[in-house]
């Protein structure tokens, strides 16, 4: 770890504000100009269970969580049991002797008993424990309490003034208690640096804001972790941005409503997780056949079936690639970080409308929920491309408008209901250029070819990601989606060990960057794949696409994302 680095974690039962504590703590350091990455873990329970919030703080950019802790707030004993091994030498653990007793477990760490509950109850509510703990943590980190106080004021601004007062009191008393009772030379002190006005954002927020920027007008969904925060975010903005946001009866309704809205000419989308995506499969094909633009987001979680609702996994890749009967073009995009979430949802809308095809964004719980500091999005470069969406004027000049006209690119100009001179019918049956049912063999072949052809033109437009890292590397890592952060951190760790590595992220899985991947494969000394699943799905796709296998698969499928350290260790094992 470099200078001005700190990894803080708070752990306790659900219902004790573990998640919001993480958020407040992270924002406090963001405001001090530092880079922050947050990571939460919790079971699918509302109260009880083991919950943690991790905040990684650094002067340099941080891309992921980590398995080493410098400052641990243990609100219950379970937190100690589960995380004591992760404490780094010189670490501090804040806990409350009134809640559980502790003997020192490790020589090189400091136990810091803070009467969290007594202070909280003293102020007026046990629920303030997390605020007291944050105040105490800021004291240990030697950081500026006034920044924390400002964050508190901001976060609770919609609440009553007494709530704000109590929380301010709580952080201050926690802070003071530590200052008064402990004076230790904590190795991981943090000081504010020049603030470049960054934002702290998670994948779901990035997708939501990106969609708003892209002109989203209609959002239909059914709640499902880890996609639900998109619904909540958009619902909260629906009046301000004049978007209709509907929670509907099921995911079948959601996707069909989105298809209806897209068909009628507005930008619409739905987000869900695997189970909900399963219910969207039939309608996906309707969009494919009727050439209705469609944007769907699948925030993956461990499957099969209900699986582990609040955990993470990357195991729906093959599923979304091939979902629905029959064959039709589709695009599958797997953003690896919050920046890609933002820009790719905008690309998704442009591609969906331009090519009149379904576009699927594949995210996961880790990407959806983890917050990262980034520069504000550059919105100047963004353009809204609605493709061949005809105006009424253009329609007037068309002699007889045929919705499914055969064209060189396979893309037919699109009209929308209410336009004069545009009247047409669409159908999920095979159809002729008028959109009427046809079972003619020649027409069928031509229509399949027409739809497929769009992909050829689309392929040319996609800018695939380059291989990043050392040119002649000891090892080349292939991966997709949210493993990006841990891999970038692992590359740093490998470098410290003198191992050079590079990394090929597959952002567009369909259309697949065959040439890029082939060339990366051919240049590599040693190849590894890193995937958060059991069956190495990308590895199979690479083999299918290039005929070339990957030497080693580094896989994890216990519902948790790789830590950089785990990837680092596994790569060293196979080298």
């Amino acid at each position: 770890m470099g200078k001005n680095d700190l990894l803080w974690m708070i752990g306790g039962e659900a219902g004790f504000g573990i998640l919001s504590a993480g958020e407040i703590f992270a924002r406090t350091f963001l405001r001090g100009g530092l880079h922050v990455f947050t990571h939460t873990e919790h079971p699918s329970l509302i109260r009880g269970g083991h919950n943690t919030s991790q905040v990684r703080i650094s002067q340099e950019e941080v891309y992921s969580h980590s398995e080493y802790i410098n400052l641990l707030v243990a609100l219950n004993y379970e937190t100690v049991e589960k995380h004591i091994d992760e404490m780094q030498s010189g670490g501090v653990m804040i806990y409350d002797e009134d809640v559980f007793k502790m003997d020192k477990l490790k020589d090189d760490m400091t136990l810091m008993n803070v009467p969290l509950s007594k202070i909280a109850v003293g102020i007026g509510n046990k629920i303030l424990i997390n605020s007291v703990a944050i105040g105490a943590s800021v004291a240990v980190a030697g950081y500026d309490i006034s920044i924390l106080e400002n964050v508190i004021k901001g976060v609770f601004k919609s609440k009553t003034s007494s709530v704000i007062e109590m929380n301010l009191k709580a952080v201050r008393e926690g802070y003071d208690y530590v200052k008064k009772n402990y004076s230790l030379d904590f190795k991981y002190k943090i000081k504010p640096v020049n603030n470049p006005n960054r934002i702290l954002i998670d994948g779901n927020q990035a997708i939501s804001i990106g969609a708003i920027k892209a002109g989203l007008k209609f959002y239909a969904a059914y709640p499902m972790s880890p996609s639900t925060s998109i619904l909540h975010y958009l619902a909260s903005k629906e009046r301000e941005y004049k978007i209709i946001v509907r929670q509907v009866e099921d995911e079948i309704a959601a996707v069909n409503m989105v298809i209806g809205a897209m068909f009628a000419g507005v930008r619409a989308m739905a987000a869900t997780s695997g189970g909900g995506f399963s219910l969207m499969v039939e309608a996906l094909g309707l969009a494919g056949m009727s050439e209705t633009p469609l944007v769907l987001i699948n925030c993956q979680r461990p499957g099969p079936s209900t699986g582990m609702p609040t955990r993470t996994e990357q195991s729906d890749l093959r599923f979304v690639m091939h979902a629905s009967q029959g064959e039709f073009p589709r695009v599958v995009i797997a953003p690896g970080d919050v920046i890609q979430c933002f820009y790719e949802i905008i690309n998704a809308f442009n591609i969906a409308e331009k090519y009149q095809i379904p576009v699927i964004i594949l995210s996961d719980a880790y990407l959806a929920n983890s917050k990262k500091t980034i520069e504000k999005f550059d919105t100047d470069s963004i353009s809204i491309d609605r493709g061949l969406l005809l105006t009424e004027k253009e329609l007037e000049n068309i002699d007889s408008y045929n919705r499914y006209e055969f064209t060189k690119t396979g893309i037919s100009p699109r009209a929308v209901p209410s336009q004069k001179n545009g009247i047409f019918t669409v159908t999920g049956n095979e159809h002729n250029i008028y959109g009427h049912i046809s079972e003619n063999m020649e027409n069928r072949t031509n229509m399949v070819d027409k739809r497929t052809r769009k992909m050829e033109y689309l392929k040319k437009e996609i800018k695939h990601l380059p291989l990043v890292g050392d040119e002649k590397a000891d090892v080349t890592i292939f991966a997709w989606g949210s493993t990006k952060g841990p891999i970038l951190e692992a590359i740093k760790l490998l470098k410290e060990d003198g191992i050079s590595s590079n990394y090929q992220q597959i952002l567009y899985i369909n259309p697949f960057p065959k040439d890029e991947v082939k060339s990366a494969l051919n240049k590599s000394r040693k190849t590894v794949i890193v995937e958060n699943n059991k069956s190495a799905q990308l590895e199979g796709i690479i083999r299918e696409q290039t005929g070339i296998g990957i030497s080693d698969c580094i896989l994890r499928y216990d519902g948790r994302q790789f830590t950089p350290e785990r990837i680092y260790k596994k790569i060293k094992e196979v080298l």
Partner: protein
């Protein structure tokens, strides 16, 4: 002045000669002419079935979707452009079978759309299996020993689900049927027209004669369609007498009424070229 001619397409509908669907198609055209709706402001959304092929044979916008999902697609279209007149067409299998869940939820939302269900008490397109409205004992290839499931009652379900206009019409009594549909489309809110449609191939029981022997119009009996309890009672009636006409009408805010987002103009007319997200980013600092 829109005319029937303007609504006609060149293709002849591909239903069996004598099928009740021909009559319903004509009824819908007549209703559109009577209401003088602009064809390009009308869209017919259907599911899958013989009935659901209807949009191919009338010159208004059409979306022939998938089995059971016409209402969600129609909801999306309506919310995208609430100035459109949306007519949903479905079969009894399509709407009351596969689509039952969506129907109940669409009704409680009270969106301003009209659904016309071609109720032939059988699955036409898939060759004659029993449908959710088939009578007990109805013999089909899938129920060779007779149906043993109590039929769905669309009237009472619609009433319970919150539809604000509920009627039963008869494809073979076109004049009255046109009238009912005109009223249904005029109604501001969710309207259901259960349209008795005779399938001459697969339903030899519930023939036009069968209905003639039993049918009567509520309006002929001094019936007040503004009372839920009465409507329920009439909804249950299905035996020696079968009521037709308007069962229930209620004046109630629609879903659109409660969406200030579209009080000025429909979503489809909002400008999306340059949405400003600075404020959203500012909140994340």
């Amino acid at each position: 002045m829109v005319t029937i001619d303007e609504l006609n397409v060149k293709d002849k509908p591909k239903w069996c000669p004598g099928c009740g669907n021909f009559s319903i198609l004509k009824i819908i055209k007549n209703a559109i002419v009577k209401l003088q709706l602009n064809p390009h402001n009308v869209i017919i959304v259907s599911g899958i079935g013989q009935s659901s092929k209807l949009p191919h044979w009338i010159k208004v916008y059409g979306f022939h979707t998938i089995h059971g999902r016409s209402l969600p697609v129609a909801t999306g279209i309506k919310l995208a452009n609430d100035r459109l007149n949306i007519i949903v067409i479905g079969g009894d299998g399509d709407t009351y079978g596969m689509g039952m869940g969506h129907m109940v939820h669409a009704m409680r939302r009270n969106l301003n759309i009209t659904i016309i269900v071609h109720n032939n008490q059988v699955y036409g397109l898939t060759k004659g299996q029993s449908s959710p409205t088939s009578g007990l004992g109805f013999k089909t290839p899938s129920t060779p020993f007779g149906s043993i499931e109590n039929p769905v009652n669309p009237m009472t379900i619609a009433l319970s689900a919150g539809a604000t206009f509920i009627a039963r019409a008869n494809a073979f009594d076109s004049e009255k049927a046109v009238n009912i549909i005109v009223n249904a489309i005029k109604h501001k809110g969710f309207s259901l027209v259960d349209m008795i449609q005779y399938c001459i191939i697969y339903n030899k029981i519930n023939t036009p004669k069968w209905f003639k022997d039993r049918g009567y119009y509520l309006e002929d009996e001094n019936y007040n369609p503004n009372n839920k309890i009465n409507a329920f009672e009439k909804g249950l009636e299905w035996g020696t007498r079968i009521p037709f006409g308007i069962f229930y009408v209620e004046d109630k805010p629609t879903l659109e009424d409660n969406l200030p987002q579209i009080s000025d103009e429909p979503l489809v007319e909002h400008d999306i070229k340059n949405v400003n997200i600075d404020k959203l980013m500012e909140e994340l600092v």
